[in-house]
């Protein structure tokens, strides 16, 4: 008797406009579908080119669960290679980062150059005719970058990176243009924070403005932060959330900021004089003033890149109930005088010992435990449906405590998971 195929998941039924089904966080079949449809076929953030400044520099990552290497080749191009020897499947590059001239497999000595081309197969007499050109390290068919942010897709076709990012490039611009030379540098190393929850909890939480005063009550009661005014009375809150399309979602704190550099914990005088002058020269005084007020983006670039204000974060799915949150400070090229402060802000804000994320990841873990209760099927997603608006640029926008961002994420998810 032939085993019957498992029924396909009905994502349209599970993802509704104002509620989502709990199994989306707990069903291993759904996780497998997501790895295929979101993390292999879609555009996924791999790393930033500043992490590998010189030929031979590499970092290793996962893409849809696959081990990959992001490397700069001899010509200076940034490539993504699948980290698997073509002979017997061994990882050819076990290190998290480094510099090399070639990738040599430790098992039988097969060696690949920085472009993944197979250089040598020891004892070639064992093959009648061996086509080395056909046995290089596999590359995802599409790799593209925007302002140094490198993305890859295992699908040969589909929307281009530019189409996927759409107008959300403006969010990346907002962060990068804080550097007088327009470049961020992710060179301080990453901290990896293990989360006992489904990966989608992290992008949802990163763009959730409702939880701050509750999950982070300790911080708000202990020290003054730039988020203080967001935990006040509902009608007094000016910060908003926005849907940028394609699952890209934003919290914009800046309507609540009263002065420049609040996103940097406040700065004035000689500490920022050189920086202010450089940006004013480039943008003019009025645009510069606006930039200092607004600060960097707080936004998710679907599915796994989080522009976390002065941090950059990656969401790495591990299994249906485990993921890893990576973060590094977003250092600004041309402004070395900010680096120390950005490092200390990164340690305060994100990571397992920080003052914010341990609570976020604890709650994510508790969500995962609570969702084991199958007698309740649905999670609510309707907050703010009564008051969200569409702005002049066609983006849904609402009060920062609303779920416009969650809905935008899930709407895109439903499209990706049901596309032919």
């Amino acid at each position: 008797m032939r085993p019957s195929a498992p029924p396909a998941v009905d994502y349209k039924a599970l993802v509704q406009d104002d509620r989502i089904h709990g199994s989306l966080y707990t069903d291993p079949r759904i996780f497998a579908d997501e790895m295929e449809r979101i993390f292999r076929r879609g555009w996924v953030f791999v790393g930033h080119d500043s992490e590998i400044p010189n030929p031979g520099d590499f970092v290793t990552r996962t893409l849809g669960g696959e081990p990959v290497i992001m490397v700069r080749d001899g010509s200076g191009a940034v490539l993504v290679l699948v980290n698997r020897c073509r002979h017997r499947g061994t990882l050819v590059c076990p290190a998290a980062r480094g510099t090399t001239k070639a990738f040599a497999c430790p098992y039988h000595g097969w060696t690949y150059d920085l472009t993944g081309a197979l250089l040598g197969v020891p004892y070639p007499g064992g093959y009648e005719a061996f086509d080395k050109a056909a046995h290089g390290l596999v590359r995802p068919p599409r790799v593209a970058s925007y302002r140094g942010f490198v993305f890859a897709s295992f699908a040969a076709g589909g929307p281009s990176l530019a189409e996927h990012l759409g107008r959300a490039t403006k969010l990346i611009d907002r962060s990068c243009d804080l550097s007088p030379v327009g470049r961020v540098e992710l060179t301080a190393g990453w901290v990896k924070h293990r989360c006992a929850a489904n990966w989608k909890m992290l992008p949802e939480n990163d763009s959730d403005g409702y939880h701050l005063g509750f999950v982070h009550m300790a911080l708000f009661r202990t020290v003054r932060t730039q988020y203080q005014r967001v935990v006040g009375e509902e009608k007094a809150i000016k910060a908003v959330i926005r849907d940028w399309g394609n699952g890209h979602i934003e919290i914009d704190w800046s309507p609540g900021y009263e002065g420049p550099f609040e996103w940097l914990g406040g700065a004035s005088g000689p500490a920022v004089a050189g920086y202010v002058a450089a940006i004013e020269r480039r943008d003019g005084p009025e645009a510069a003033r606006q930039r200092f007020l607004e600060g960097p983006a707080h936004a998710l670039i679907f599915p796994n890149l989080f522009l976390g204000e002065t941090n950059i974060a990656i969401v790495e799915p591990v299994s249906v109930n485990e993921c890893v949150h990576w973060h590094t400070p977003m250092l600004l090229a041309g402004v070395p005088e900010f680096s120390n402060r950005l490092l200390r802000m990164a340690e305060a804000g994100m990571g397992p010992a920080s003052f914010l994320m341990p609570e976020d990841l604890l709650v994510a873990g508790r969500n995962q435990l609570g969702l084991q209760a199958r007698s309740v099927e649905w999670l609510l997603l309707g907050r703010g449906l009564n008051r969200e608006q569409v702005d002049a640029e066609g983006r849904a926008v609402s009060h920062v405590t609303d779920e416009t961002t969650n809905r935008a994420l899930w709407r895109h998810y439903r499209t990706v998971m049901t596309d032919a």
Binding site: A188, V191, H193, V223, P352, F355, G365
Partner: protein
């Protein structure tokens, strides 16, 4: 070389510090620090790690140490509510004298039961360097550096006192 009395004082300090951290006796633990204390947990095992160039798990000056402890004492640091149940072993203690301070290096293994959600047992291990300064008739720590064996790996919550 340090005297037997200095060695014993350093070891007793390490044991006491470990016990206060294990038992979430936050105010007493904070009182072990000098006013210029630095608490450093690098995010790498690389001995050349530089907190001014590389991201750390923790790089607290005294003001941030106070904040860290104030959070823990607030009753709302939910990742430590209730506090993890912990016991650590401190061993392989070597003590040297440097610039008027004692420098104690030690290894530790810590069993941490994360009672806030999953009730998982987390095992932590590493090498600790304490700088100990005599203030009045007590030793205080002016620096504590904790190099975790798995510093560069994905770590669960580390909001207790490591």
């Amino acid at each position: 070389m340090v005297s037997d009395a200095e060695y014993r004082a350093a070891v007793e300090f390490l044991y006491r510090e470990a016990r206060l951290a294990d038992e979430a006796r936050y105010a007493e633990w904070l009182a072990l620090w000098t006013d210029d204390g630095v608490y450093w947990v690098p995010a790498t095992t690389d001995p050349d790690a530089d907190p001014d160039r590389h991201l750390s798990h923790i790089y607290d000056n005294r003001a941030r140490l106070d904040t860290r402890v104030n959070l823990l004492r607030s009753g709302h640091r939910y990742s430590q509510e209730p506090a993890s149940l912990m016991r650590r072993l401190v061993s392989n203690v070597e003590v040297a004298s440097e610039g008027g301070e004692l420098v104690a290096e030690s290894n530790f293994i810590l069993a941490e039961l994360s009672v806030q959600a999953g009730h998982e047992m987390h095992w932590w291990a590493g090498r600790v360097t304490h700088r100990l300064r005599r203030v009045g008739d007590e030793l205080r720590m002016s620096r504590k550096k904790v190099v975790l064996v798995n510093a560069a790996e994905p770590l669960p919550n580390l909001s207790f006192l490591i």
